[in-house]
């Protein structure tokens, strides 16, 4: 019962905050609300026995990505942003596309069939800690994707530098 109450609070907060994030006029308000949203998602991960991901969620999303967003918002003309129209001209079309997707998703979740279960249950995670189990799986079964991921991050570093570099006049 207490689990359902906690889930109910988290779900209400997540949905309410995300609606606020996409409707605020001031982008700084959006980013700060997004920060609170990420903390709620981290708590949701804790209820799903994923402590390591909860920490990563706070460190990477709240600590790195949102600070990056705030730096870019410094570029904006906030005074202009507070008076111009928030939505594109054909916003009803976008909203109806999202609602159509929602109907499709509701129809598909009713025919959900559970797949075969794995062998790492809650008891193993509790006896060995989540981080240790995650590390074992990550560095054995998923070693190759992990290596590819390092290339993705390298491309991101080089790409960000190349995109934002000013061309020197020679």
């Amino acid at each position: 019962m207490i689990e359902k109450l906690i889930f109910g609070y988290l779900a209400t907060a997540i949905i309410g905050l995300s609606i606020l994030v996409i409707t605020r006029r001031n982008p700084v308000h959006s980013v700060v609300l997004m920060l609170i949203l990420f903390f709620h998602i981290a708590v949701l991960y804790l209820t799903l026995n994923a402590e390591f991901l909860a920490a990563i969620q706070i460190i990477i999303y709240a600590g790195a990505v949102l600070v990056l967003f705030l730096f870019v918002i410094l570029l904006l003309n906030l005074k202009e942003e507070l008076v111009v129209e928030r939505f594109v001209g054909i916003w009803p079309l976008g909203l109806s596309a999202a609602i159509a997707f929602a109907i499709m998703m509701i129809l598909s979740t009713t025919s959900f069939v559970k797949g075969p279960e794995g062998n790492i249950g809650v008891d193993i995670i509790k006896s060995e800690t989540n981080t240790r189990v995650l590390g074992k799986v990550l560095f054995t079964d998923y070693l190759y994707p992990f290596e590819i991921l390092s290339v993705v991050l390298l491309v991101a570093i080089i790409g960000a530098i190349v995109l934002t570099k000013r061309r020197l006049k020679s």
Binding site: P27, M34, L53, L75, V88, L95, E117, N130, A156, T164
Partner: protein
């Protein structure tokens, strides 16, 4: 025990809100924030599936999604800076050079 479907519906609702924000807003930074919302929705569904099917693959994939999201944010914000330098606007409906 909270049923799996509740998590899936929460994830779907968050994804749809992110999708609506992406399609409706003019400001390109809010559009990027909506993309982050959608990625987080997918993460919630992956972690809940991993927990309910007793499999670690969900959490490993979530770790990959978070890393790709960080790379995507860096590249995307670089594109926004380059765009702002050339066009001095962040509104997507004012970028219509390729309109026939």
């Amino acid at each position: 025990m909270v049923p799996l479907n509740w998590y899936i519906w929460l994830s779907g609702a968050l994804f749809i809100i992110g999708m609506a924000g992406f399609l409706m807003r003019r400001n390109i930074i809010i559009m990027f924030i909506s993309i982050e919302l959608m990625l987080n929705a997918v993460n919630i569904s992956l972690v809940s599936f991993g927990n309910f099917l007793k499999d670690m693959a969900g959490q490993v994939l979530t770790l990959f999604v978070i890393a790709v999201a960080a790379a995507e944010a860096a590249i995307g914000l670089g594109i926004i800076i380059a765009l702002f330098r050339n066009k001095a606007t962040v509104h997507v409906d004012e970028m219509n050079e390729m309109k026939g």
